[in-house]
């Protein structure tokens, strides 16, 4: 399948990288010569320098033979025009990165019925949702949802003295047979492994666990965390992400304080958010943060447009005693830094966009996918059709690649944490955790 990616910014670059690693033919169009050059040198893709909304450039990129267009420049209008041009040229699937809600809200002339753009991804809003999910769990560094929210993937760091530390997975399975979860990946010293029964968990490990959403609350205590309720959240920075998050929190009955250093932006926020308290203040004004009760606050999210300010602000909040601190990080290079400096979790709008788009790229039998910051593995959700080769086979007979693991089976309303003897039935939704190089093999297995 040939995929056309317009825009080689962080989102486009990362998408092109992921897709080419999964053996897709990727053509990348970028208007900035330097960035196009950079992508050409670092990725196994065809790079064209030019305007992605121009028909001649699209023709040059071989739009006739493309089956998918991902328009992900930072400009809504360019993305829209590129998608419309692609549709005209017969491209089957089109995705546009859109930040302005006017364009994607229901009833927009650009909506699917009217213009045929199949997916509009708003990075800021995706990011806000991800932040909300992370905030909801005391320990989580990453959260992703599968099977319409019935299964959750939780990333968390093992605390000192945690119950699970120093034990192998097999041992844990025997000791806690009443717990329904599966350890899908372990990240240690920056290296991701898909564990087997002999793998031993150590303090400081970063674990990725899959569990039915109803039982996710039981996981953090295993890794040494207290369970908690989300009642009060402060958002430092009135960025688009901050505003979306404030709205989501408001809708969930969480008490929100949001601050920004620009008075006019504060007024906009105060007008847009009926219940939140809006403060005109700086994200690094420690005295004010203390006065407004950051100590003991359930969640603190630094969401200014500046990564350095966000990290600093998060650290201040953590020092003063905020329980869970999440930092908005735009630059991918900073993502691995976050756990080292002591911030609980990070979110990236661009990574959120990449995830949302990848989820869509693998449409068909693939229903959802989550790329996780700082690690290479991906979680993918497949639906098993009646004619599928895997239907009716036991897990142990699947012969999955070593760097892949079946996390959960969803059968109707039932969520199964599987063992080797469990059978896959037609109609099941299967969530698999895998390293990128294993993905083509798995896709082949499920497609066959």
């Amino acid at each position: 399948m040939r995929v056309l990616v317009v825009g080689a910014g962080e989102v486009g670059f990362h998408l092109a990288k992921r897709l080419s690693e999964e053996s897709q033919d990727v053509v990348l169009i970028e208007s900035d010569p330097e960035r196009a050059e950079f992508a050409q040198q670092h990725l196994d893709v065809l790079t064209l320098q030019g305007n992605g909304a121009s028909l001649s450039v699209l023709e040059q990129a071989g739009i006739d033979s493309c089956s998918m267009m991902l328009a992900v420049t930072s400009r809504d209008e360019v993305n829209l025009i590129a998608c419309l041009a692609a549709k005209r040229s017969g491209v089957r699937y089109t995705t546009a990165r859109i930040s302005n809600p006017d364009y994607y809200e229901t009833g927009s002339v650009l909506s699917r019925e009217h213009m045929g753009i199949d997916l509009m991804i708003n990075p800021e809003r995706e990011c806000a949702w991800e932040t909300f999910q992370i905030l909801q769990s005391a320990a989580a560094t990453d959260v992703a949802q599968f099977a319409d929210g019935r299964v959750q993937l939780l990333g968390l760091q093992v605390k000192e003295g945690a119950k699970v530390a120093g034990k192998s997975l097999a041992q844990l399975g025997r000791e806690m047979s009443d717990h329904h979860y599966i350890t899908a990946a372990i990240v240690r010293d920056g290296i991701t492994t898909i564990p087997d029964g002999d793998s031993v968990i150590q303090e400081g490990d970063h674990l990725y666990m899959l569990a039915p959403t109803t039982e996710v609350r039981d996981i953090p205590p295993l890794a040494g965390y207290d369970a908690y309720d989300l009642k009060r959240v402060m958002i430092a920075g009135g960025s688009a992400e901050g505003e979306y998050l404030a709205r989501i929190l408001e809708d969930h009955g969480v008490e929100v304080t949001i601050l920004d250093h620009d008075r006019r932006r504060c007024l906009e926020l105060a007008e847009a958010l009926p219940r939140a308290l809006v403060l005109h203040a700086d994200a690094t004004d420690l005295e004010l943060l203390e006065m407004e009760g950051v100590a003991g606050i359930d969640g603190y999210v630094s969401a200014t447009g500046n990564d350095e300010t966000n990290l600093l602000s998060s650290l201040l909040a953590k020092t003063v005693g905020a329980r869970k601190v999440v930092s908005l990080v735009h630059k991918f290079e900073y993502l691995p830094l976050v756990p080292r400096v002591g911030v609980d979790a990070s979110v990236s709008p661009r990574m959120a966009a990449v995830n949302a788009i990848l989820r869509y790229v693998r449409r068909g039998r693939v229903m959802a996918v989550a790329s996780l910051a700082g690690i290479d593995a991906e979680a993918i959700e497949f639906r098993v059709d009646a004619d599928s080769a895997v239907a009716g086979r036991r897990l142990r007979d699947l012969h999955l690649p070593a760097n892949a693991v079946v996390g959960t089976l969803v059968r109707g309303e039932e969520v199964i944490v599987p063992r080797g003897d469990d059978e896959i039935l037609a109609g099941d939704e299967v969530i698999i955790f895998a390293m990128p190089d294993a993905i083509p093999e798995i896709e082949a297995l499920f497609d066959a």
Binding site: L269, E271, L279, H280
Partner: protein, 487 residues
């Protein structure tokens, strides 16, 4: 600022006033009062002066906002002056000042009268009093805009300056259409009320006059005892309902007429209605507890409480019971209602419910600001935020309103009134209510008041009707400074 343009529009408006006088002449003729010539003479003078001003000047270009303010204020002043002619020429009033007061009270829908014995007045004069109410209620200028689209864009300036409330709502893209729709609703409700009065056994003449006075939230009656003259619960309740409807934003009525009932969604409506219900309940309970309705029963106590609350809050000023005989607590509740007024976009006067509501919210915000000194707080009506400039405008308005009431009361005391009467007369005229407290109370009139005091009160009525800023701007020195313009 072009005086020619102003004279042109003001002159034209007087022609409409003259037409109204011709209508009153018709009534006088029909009832054989013998006042028809006096009305026609008044109409002739008014039309003559108006037409002269209109023909000797020309209207060119657009209206500036300043010109709009000047036109509205001067047009209302001229209307009151010419509107006093029928009183003088028919001889029912002997000196000019009381006549001007009566005309101003009519057009501003205040309903304060200088007549001691209303029932002895001829039909033509009674009808003229009610007609001044009815024209002033929805606004003479709004009427002219509805009929004559010649003002074009400038019409909006005038419309804004005349229609009560912070920001008038446009029901249609064109201002002329909006004005027409508002008058359509106004005429419809007036006709409905008159018909219901007829069904209740009121005479046709009284029915029309009371319908005019009710829908304009005026308060002139054809009876000395006002509505209390009718010993009919039905007539009292009909009056209550229509006074209330006149105090509600006419845009809501228009929507209801076109099939979409949006009353409940409107926060100002909820507040306004809440105030009415709460105040009426308190007064009814206080009066019943005091035993003042001992023999009469519960229904009259509730009816009088609701009637007086609606009459005062909508600034109509009809009287069904002498509220000055009520318990002090009940009177005090009524006193507070003098400062609420009707909804924005209604024919009612006063501060307007939406301003009171927003002021309360702003006050709550100021309290909250002490807890969070860096907070940016926005007052809102429902979910709709109110911009800071609008809020500042409202705070300024309420302060000016209160200062005006105070200044009026001080002036009245200097002109010889006792404390209660001075305060009562001041708040009753600024709010366009009519009856106040003390010697201008529910069963009193303004007949005994000296000319200078009447002049001050006439001014207060005008300022109150045109929502203060429009009139006071004329006294601001910068208003009259020449500015270079391209026109």
């Amino acid at each position: 600022m072009s005086l020619r343009k102003i004279a042109n529009v003001v002159g034209l408006l007087q022609v409409f006033v003259a037409l109204a006088m011709v209508a009153a002449a018709g009534v006088a003729l029909g009832y054989g009062d013998g006042d028809a010539p006096a009305f026609l003479l008044s109409a002739g003078i008014t039309a003559g002066v108006g037409l002269a001003a209109y023909r000797l000047t020309r209207f060119e270009g657009d209206l500036t906002q300043r010109e709009g303010f000047a036109i509205v204020t001067l047009a209302w002043t001229a209307t009151a002056l010419f509107g006093s002619l029928p009183y003088l020429l028919t001889g029912v009033v002997e000196s000019p000042m009381p006549a001007v007061f009566e005309a101003m009270s009519g057009f501003t829908t205040t309903g304060a009268t200088i007549f001691r014995d209303i029932e002895s007045l001829p039909h033509g004069i009674l009808f003229w009093r009610s007609l001044t109410h009815w024209l002033g209620g929805m606004g003479i200028i709004v009427l002219v805009i509805a009929v004559l689209p010649f003002l074009g864009v400038g019409g909006m300036q005038l419309f804004q300056a005349e229609v009560p409330g912070p920001t008038p709502e446009r029901l249609r893209p064109r201002i002329t259409q909006t004005a027409k729709l508002l008058w359509f609703v106004y005429v419809g409700l007036t006709a409905a009320e008159a018909a219901l009065y007829l069904l209740g056994g009121m005479g046709a003449f009284d029915a029309v006059n009371h319908a005019f006075a009710t829908m304009a939230t005026g308060g002139f009656s054809t009876r000395n005892a006002s509505i209390a003259a009718y010993d009919s619960a039905y007539i009292h309740w009909v009056t209550v309902v229509f006074m209330y409807l006149a105090g509600v934003n006419f845009s809501l009525h228009f929507r209801a007429a076109t099939g979409s009932f949006t009353y409940w969604k409107d926060r100002e409506w909820r507040f306004f209605t809440g105030v009415v219900v709460a105040a009426a309940a308190v007064i009814a309970v206080v009066n019943l507890a005091a035993g003042s309705y001992g023999a009469a029963g519960v229904e009259p106590a509730i009816r009088d409480a609701v009637f007086q609350v609606v009459a005062i809050v909508t600034t109509t000023g009809f009287v069904s019971a002498d509220y000055e005989l009520w318990m002090p607590a009940a009177q005090m509740v009524l006193f507070a209602l003098f400062f609420v007024g009707g909804m924005a976009g209604s024919t009612g006067g006063g501060v307007k419910a939406v301003r009171v509501l927003l002021l309360l919210k702003q006050t709550a915000n100021e309290l909250r600001r002490h807890l969070h000194p860096r907070a940016v707080l926005v007052a809102r009506v429902g979910r709709k935020p109110v911009r800071e400039e609008v809020m500042a405008n409202i705070v300024g308005f309420v302060i000016l309103y209160l200062l005006l009431c105070l200044a009026g009361a001080v002036a009245m005391s200097f002109l010889g009134m006792d404390l209660l009467t001075a305060i009562g007369a001041s708040i009753a005229t600024v709010g366009n209510v009519g009856p106040g407290f003390g010697d201008v109370g529910a069963t009193d009139n303004y007949a005994w008041i000296s000319d200078p005091a009447l002049a001050v009160l006439s001014f207060l009525m005008l300022v109150g009707r045109l929502e203060i800023y429009t009139v006071l701007l004329l006294f601001h020195p910068e208003m009259w400074k020449r500015r270079k313009s391209f026109h």
